[in-house]
Symmetry: C2
Subunit: 455 residues, 2 copies
């Protein structure tokens, strides 16, 4: 026990099966194994020393009085490399937005995308996210950035068809090459605790049924999960019906996608039959409330998903439609939008969305071992400073986390697998200033290029 690091005196939100919230609790872990050794009431020994709020340290005991201790958050859907596009296309209809984003994206090099990814990693860590699912132009070096950051990712190299054109400069236009790359990376990282791979067919409107069937066959052969966008907007549903005579989830199922583990992004417009299909399959939905609202895509039927037993995660989508990666905002926006649209203040509970952002999301993105604070689990731990105005008074840590907390302002320390990756609100694993500068340069360069072509 001597090598244990003990975080004592904070309110501990365990997210375990009993959803225990311990007012004055302790979480301990073994830095050698990266595993939690204890989560519960404060134990005796050095742990009951009463130091100054949130700062006293006695050997391996850290006094976190005044803090809330919770599992690292899980962002179930994003496209991290897109951070150079933050705030670039605003206040326009979806078609103009897509065209403006696309014209920018095609000018991004692999180097730009990696810088964009690293900015996203910094931003996610600083707001308490430790695990994420991501569909983008993943390559070996981008995965290495994630390893360096300390985070965990379910990475899906994006496939925009067998012969995609007009996608980012860094994108292989050959969909088969992306599938092969996915397989190679999956083999390389097999059994890894930080990096897991998924096939990433973008959507039924970019990938042919043959490609989807190819993905399904490969997923079956290799035991890999699939990430796909389905039923984001009503026009997408209409076009899928027109092209294939089926709604998007049903269409993907007909192509064999749901014979394997699947993470569906959005799913704002499912039919009842599709909800049943999702509940019966080894599937999860990544709900992206802010992005769905900002782009006017619609409001996902969260209550119906919950009632049917569909596994749910919570995602930010990319900053191009958000414009940040703070999952605490997503929790609040998600609850608010259900209550407002259905005119019911109890249609969803705060805890439903906290689950989606932790244990539920962890299962959804195929890291079922994280998202819970209990002995034997990886030590993915977030410590929020709950001494500010937003946390006064503090009747209930769940309510604070769902409605009052600011990921940007309140997250103080983050551990992933016992590694202290955010300390005193600073990221220790990446050079934030350098990363910001690289992305700012990318943004300036692409704007110059676009201005030059416009003249």
């Amino acid at each position: 026990m001597s090598s244990e690091i003990r975080l004592t005196g904070g309110a501990v939100v365990t997210q375990d099966a009993a959803r225990r919230v311990i007012e004055c609790g302790e979480v301990a872990f073994d830095p050698a194994t990266g595993k939690i050794t204890y989560a519960g009431e404060v134990r005796g020994g050095e742990g009951d020393s009463s130091g100054a709020a949130g700062s006293g340290r006695l050997g391996a005991v850290t006094d976190v009085t005044g803090c809330v201790v919770m599992p690292g958050l899980v962002n179930a859907h994003t496209h991290s490399g897109m951070t150079p596009l933050r705030g670039y296309a605003e206040d326009m209809n979806l078609q103009d937005w897509l065209a403006k984003v696309r014209a920018f994206e095609v000018r991004l090099t692999a180097e730009d995308l990696r810088a964009g990814l690293e900015l996203a990693l910094v931003e996610m860590l600083k707001t308490g996210t430790t695990t994420f699912a991501d569909m983008f132009l993943w390559d070996r070096r981008m995965l290495e950035s994630v390893v360096t950051s300390g985070m965990r990712v379910l990475a899906a190299p994006a496939i925009f068809g067998y012969d995609a054109v007009g996608y980012p400069a860094a994108s292989p236009s050959d969909g088969r090459a992306v599938l092969d790359l996915t397989e190679r990376l999956a083999a390389e990282f097999a059994g890894d605790g930080q990096i897991r791979l998924a096939f990433g067919p973008h959507a039924p409107y970019t990938c042919t049924p043959e490609l989807l069937a190819d993905v399904a066959a490969r997923a079956g052969r290799l035991g890999l999960p699939i990430q796909i966008h389905l039923s984001e907007s009503a026009p997408e549903v209409d076009s899928c019906l027109r092209d294939y005579g089926r709604t998007p989830v049903a269409h993907a199922a007909a192509c064999g996608i749901f014979d394997h583990p699947v993470l569906v992004a959005h799913c704002a417009h499912p039919t009842d039959a599709e909800i049943e299909l999702l509940a019966g399959a080894d599937a999860a939905v990544a709900h992206n409330p802010v992005s769905n609202l900002k782009l006017g895509a619609g409001v996902a039927p969260v209550r119906r998903f919950l009632d049917a037993g569909v596994r749910l995660g919570l995602g930010t989508d990319s900053v191009a439609s958000n414009n940040n990666l703070d999952l605490f905002e997503e929790i609040k926006a998600g609850i608010l939008m259900q209550r407002g649209v259905h005119r019911s203040p109890d249609i969803v509970r705060s805890g439903d969305f906290l689950d989606m952002a932790t244990c539920g999301g962890a299962a959804a993105v195929r890291f079922p071992e994280v998202g819970v604070l209990e002995a034997g689990r990886p030590a993915d731990i977030v410590i929020l400073d709950a001494t500010g105005t937003r946390a006064t008074p503090l009747y209930d840590a769940t309510s604070y986390l769902a409605f009052a907390a600011s990921g940007s302002a309140d997250v103080r320390d983050v551990y992933v697998g016992g590694r202290h990756v955010v300390a005193g609100s600073r990221v220790t694993s990446l050079d934030e200033a350098a990363v910001r500068e690289r992305v700012a340069h990318t943004a300036a360069r692409v704007r110059r290029e676009l201005a030059a072509t416009a003249t």
Copy 2:
């Protein structure tokens, strides 16, 4: 000009008539008069020194490179004294929520309410709000707290009927006494730049038509504005129709309320005729998106208000239905909810909501001189640190403010009338730690009392 304080090198969002956003600008003010002397491009002289981002100071020149400079925000509707109720009643239907809140409120003393107010003042200042409209149990000492804080308020002592019972211990049960108090305080603070008074008849379902007519007559005699809740929820509209044969805005108009300057809170369910009435009167609507969503009250018709020319402000409502006072969250939630519900990403623009939170809100709460950065206006200025991940890259300060900024994390300095009330993210005018402790004690005491009565 030697006494000028010059803030140079930041992106300046003026909110003036041309809505100028200056990429590298300057705002200067005279601390002796508290008035802005200049807002525009950086001028020559010491101002063009290039110090370290956001920290270099040369005499009266402060280099705010890397920052966004904007007018102080206006919270057009809140009940500040309710901060002890933050997070107390969650995840329940409206009736249970009201009962739980009420049982708590009746135990609050005048001392508790003032502590609650001061916590709200600290929280608003730290998130960039400098002016607010508030309906609560205002008394002389609470107004003194606002004077001390440096903020500006349109304070409406709340009237719950001529013979209200069951309201906070501190509340006079005699509505006429509240009306008389309002008149006395208005006379005392006549011409004040920080404190303005309004009559505060709570709502048609708590105030009789006779009381509303009495308020209207007094407002006419004294030239005071009126704050009132109207048309917050559909059941309220139904009950008003049942009781008076008119919808709430029409009913208030029939009682003479709209013959005088009025600030209407909520107005989520107006008829077309009521929107016309609001546009034609000297009236403004305080839109409270987060509270309306959280309580399931509904979605106000912002596009229709804008098209009809209704003056709009933006409010947080109290922390009991929010649970914080960060107006940046309100801007984002307000835009998102319109786009999501109407499935249109361009139904409202970011600038519409930024207007509501600044110049528009200022007019709505009867401080028309604030909310704009231009020469001759009061120096109510907010400086946000835009060097973080959320502001990288920064194409457009408006998009950053609407979608990415965190009031809690990014607001660095706040001036009101040239007084430096937040410096380096710390409030200089009130003792934050002491205020938090007082509210935490109030919360603990009331919980003990309620537990004792339950046994």
